[in-house]
C-alpha cells in the first residue's frame, strides 16, 4: 500500500496522479467513564457518535481523459481507509485498523461510447444520508467484478456482476456470484430524480466443501440459541453415541436486495430532498460451535437463519432558511429487522428503530459559524427485553421475573435516546452545512432510559464481590474539539 502511495505521489508533478481523501479526528475527554462517544451509534446522528477516521483516495490517469473527446481513457483508483488515528483512539493509529478497501480500474470510450467499464471493487450508491453517514441505496458493497455504467444527461444505468465471497466470508471463502444494477432518471434536471436497482447473490451447495452452506439436521432452535445442542444430544443418546451426531446436509443459499431513490429540490428554500429505501433478504449464517466431550462441535445453521430481512428507509432534506445566514438539514431513518426463524430471543435481527435528526448551522460570518443539532430515537426489540435501565437490573428474566433460564436481558424492550450538540464551527472555505474543512468545538449531551448508554468500562455484573461499584447514570455529557476535512 505504501509503495502504491509513494508511486502516486512521486508522479504527482506529472499532472496525471491525484491524492485525495478524508480525515476526521477529535479530542473528546470523557469525564463520565465513557470512551469518548456520546452514544452507541450513528442512529442519533453521526456527530459525536463516530470516532476517528482516515481515508486516502488515490487516482492515476493511465490514459488521461480529454474534455469533449471520444478517445479512450483509463484511470486506476485505490482507497486506503480505517478508523484509527494516533492519540485519538485506543488503536493508536495502528495500520492494522486500515485496509485497502477499494481498487478498481475505470475505462471509458472503449467498445461503447458513453460507457465506463469498471473492473475491481464495484461499490456504488445512489446517495447519502449525510447526518447519519448511512447509504441504504448501495449495491455491490461486497463485490469484486466487472460493471458497465452508461451516463447521459438524463439517465445513469449501471449493470455489474462479480463475486462477494471474500468480503462476506474471508478465510472461510465460498464463491458468492453476484449480479445487479441500478438505474437513475433525471426527470427534471436539477429538480427531480428517480432511481432504483438491486442485487442478487447465490451460494450453491458444493458437496464436500466445508465452507459451503449446510444445515445440521435434528437439532432444536431453542437448544441452539441456548448453546445446549451437545448437552441435549448426550442426554438423549449417551456419550457412547457421540460419534454418531448427525452430519451436515448441503443447502443452497441466496440473498437479495432491492433499493429505491427519490430526489427533488431546487425549489424556493429547498436545496434538495433525498429519500432512500432498501429491502434485503440477508444471507444465512454458516455455523456456530459448541463443545461435546471436550471436542469442538460445529453446528451448521442455514435453516435457522435463512429468514432474516431488513427494511430500511431514510429521508434527508436541506433547506436554506435564511440565505447566507441559516441552513437546516433534517433527516429521518426507519429500520425493521425481522428474523422469521426466531420468536424467542432478543436479537439485532429482530428489532425496529426510528430516529430523526435536525441540524441547524448559522453563519455570523463567512468562516465562523454556529452549529446546533438534536436527535430523538427509539429502538424496540421484537422478542422482549434487551436493555438494562438500572445498574442493578437483572440479566436474565422472563415476563419481568428473574429467571436464569430466561432468554431476555435487562428490564426493557425499548431504548429511547435524546441528544443535543451545540458549538461554534470554523469553516475556512465558507458557508454550507456539508462544506469542509470544518473545525468544531462542541458540547454534546445525551439522555437515554438505558443505563450508561455509551461505550464504557463500568462493571456490569451485580456480583457482591465486585471490586468496583456499579454506576447508574442516564445523562451523558461530552466536550469535543474536532476536525473533519475532505481534500
Amino acid at each position: 500500500m505504501l509503495a502504491l502511495l509513494l508511486a502516486c505521489l512521486g508522479t504527482a508533478d506529472a499532472g496525471n496522479a491525484d491524492v485525495g481523501g478524508y480525515f476526521r479526528v477529535a479530542a473528546r475527554p470523557d469525564l463520565q467513564g465513557g470512551s469518548g462517544r456520546l452514544g452507541y451509534w450513528n442512529l442519533y446522528g453521526r456527530l459525536l457518535n463516530e470516532g476517528s477516521y482516515g481515508m486516502l483516495e488515490l487516482r492515476y490517469d493511465v490514459l488521461e481523459r480529454q474534455p469533449a473527446d471520444k478517445q479512450p481513457w483509463s484511470t486506476v483508483h485505490a482507497r486506503i481507509e480505517g478508523g484509527s488515528i494516533s492519540n485519538a483512539d485506543s488503536l493508536q493509529g495502528s495500520l492494522a485498523a486500515f485496509r485497502l478497501s477499494q481498487v478498481y480500474v475505470k475505462s471509458g470510450n472503449v467498445l461503447l461510447d458513453g460507457v465506463t467499464w469498471q473492473v475491481g471493487t464495484l461499490e456504488s450508491f445512489l446517495g447519502d444520508l449525510g447526518l447519519y453517514d448511512m447509504r441504504p441505496a448501495t449495491v455491490f458493497f461486497d463485490t469484486v467484478g466487472l460493471s458497465a455504467r452508461y451516463e447521459s444527461r438524463d439517465l445513469e444505468l449501471l449493470v455489474g456482476a462479480g463475486d462477494s465471497g471474500f468480503k462476506r466470508y474471508g478465510l472461510d471463502y465460498n464463491a458468492l456470484p453476484t449480479v445487479g444494477g441500478t438505474a437513475r432518471l433525471r426527470l427534471l434536471d436539477g429538480h427531480l430524480e428517480l432511481g432504483g436497482g438491486g442485487e442478487l447473490m447465490i451460494e450453491s451447495a458444493v458437496g464436500g466443501n466445508v465452507n459451503a452452506p449446510y444445515h445440521t439436521p435434528g437439532i432444536d432452535y431453542e437448544d441452539w440459541v441456548r448453546g445446549e445442542v451437545a448437552e441435549r444430544y448426550l442426554a438423549e443418546f449417551g456419550p457412547e453415541l457421540a460419534d454418531y451426531f448427525p452430519g451436515p446436509e448441503a443447502r443452497n443459499a441466496s440473498a437479495n436486495k432491492v433499493i429505491g431513490y427519490l430526489g427533488f429540490g431546487g425549489v424556493g428554500p429547498l436545496v434538495w430532498n433525498n429519500f432512500f429505501l432498501s429491502y434485503s433478504q440477508e444471507l444465512p449464517q454458516k455455523s456456530t460451535t459448541e463443545t461435546m466431550l471436550g471436542e469442538p462441535l460445529t453446528l451448521y445453521v442455514h435453516d435457522f437463519t435463512d429468514e432474516r430481512t431488513v427494511l430500511m428507509m431514510g429521508n434527508e432534506l436541506q433547506v436554506r432558511l435564511w440565505p447566507e445566514r441559516l441552513d437546516m438539514v433534517w433527516g429521518g431513518v426507519y429500520g425493521d429487522h425481522r428474523d422469521g426463524d426466531n420468536d424467542i430471543v432478543p436479537s439485532d435481527h429482530d428489532r425496529t428503530y426510528a430516529s430523526t435528526v435536525l441540524r441547524l448551522q448559522a453563519y455570523p460570518t463567512e468562516t465562523v459559524h454556529f452549529l446546533a443539532e438534536t436527535s430523538l430515537a427509539r429502538e424496540w426489540s421484537r422478542n422482549g427485553n434487551t436493555y438494562r435501565e438500572h445498574a442493578d437490573s437483572i440479566f436474565t428474566n422472563d415476563m419481568g421475573r428473574p429467571d436464569t433460564r430466561g432468554l431476555q436481558y435487562g428490564d426493557s424492550d425499548t431504548r429511547n435516546t435524546w441528544q443535543l450538540k451545540v458549538g461554534p464551527v470554523l469553516q475556512p472555505t465558507g458557508r454550507g452545512i456539508f462544506n469542509r474543512p470544518s473545525l468544531r468545538l462542541l458540547y454534546g449531551t445525551q439522555y437515554s432510559n438505558q443505563n450508561n448508554a455509551f461505550g464504557n468500562a463500568f462493571v456490569e455484573s451485580v456480583d457482591q464481590y465486585n471490586d468496583f461499584e456499579n454506576v447508574e447514570q442516564h445523562w451523558h455529557h461530552v466536550l469535543a474539539a474536532e476536525a473533519e476535512v475532505w481534500f
Partner: protein
C-alpha cells in the same frame, strides 16, 4: 453570546490585497465553464464570478464582463486559442480569463468527487511576455448527484479566488505597483 465575540471578530479579519493600483482601472473579464461531456461552455456560476470580481475590486480594478464566445470556446479549449478569439473580436486588454473544466471522478464514501482544473490568464501589454498565468487543480466532494460542473466550481470558489489574486498581484508587481503597507 459574549464569549463568541472574539471568534466573530477573528472571522471578520480578512487579509487585504498585496497590491493595489492608485486609481481605478478597467479589466475585461471572461469566465468559462467547460464540460468533459460535450463542447458546450457557459459562464462560471454567479457566485464564482462575484468572488473573482471581489479580487479585482480589492485591487481597484474594475471588472467589465465581455460575455461568452460559446461557439468558439467550445472547440478551442486552450488558453492561447481562446485569447486569440478575444483578440480577433477586438476585446481591449487587459483581459482576465478564468476557465474551469470540472470532470466527475468517482464516488467516495457518500460523496461525489469531482476534479476541478482551472486556469487563470491575464493578457496585458505590460505583463511579462504579454501574459500572466496561474493554474489550479482542486477536488470538490459534492453531496448530491444532481450537482454538476457549476456546483463543483462553486465548491472550490475560495481557491479560484485566491489563484486570481495571485495572478493579479504578479501582474501588478511587474508594473511596479508597490505592495500594500
Amino acid at each position: 453570546m459574549r464569549w463568541m465575540l472574539p471568534l466573530l471578530l477573528v472571522g471578520c479579519l480578512k487579509p487585504g490585497p498585496k497590491r493595489m493600483v492608485e486609481t481605478a482601472e478597467p479589466v475585461r473579464l471572461v469566465t468559462v465553464l467547460g464540460s468533459y461531456e460535450s463542447e458546450a461552455v457557459e459562464e462560471l456560476p454567479p457566485s464564482v464570478v462575484a468572488r473573482v470580481s471581489e479580487e479585482l475590486q480589492a485591487r481597484q480594478l474594475q471588472p467589465e464582463a465581455v460575455g461568452l464566445f460559446a461557439e468558439a470556446f467550445g472547440v478551442r479549449r486552450t488558453v492561447p486559442a481562446r485569447l486569440e478569439v478575444l483578440e480577433e473580436a477586438g476585446i481591449a486588454q487587459p483581459v482576465l480569463m478564468v476557465s474551469c473544466d470540472p470532470r466527475f471522478d468517482t464516488q467516495v464514501n457518500g460523496r461525489f468527487r469531482w476534479q476541478v482544473d482551472c486556469s487563470v490568464a491575464l493578457s496585458a501589454a505590460d505583463a511579462e511576455g504579454g501574459l500572466e498565468q496561474g493554474t489550479l487543480g482542486a477536488s470538490a466532494h459534492l453531496v448530491y448527484y444532481h450537482q454538476q460542473e457549476a456546483e463543483a466550481v462553486e465548491e472550490v470558489s475560495a481557491l479560484v479566488g485566491r489563484e486570481v489574486g495571485r495572478v493579479l498581484d504578479r501582474w501588478l508587481a511587474t508594473r511596479g505597483v508597490p505592495e500594500a503597507p
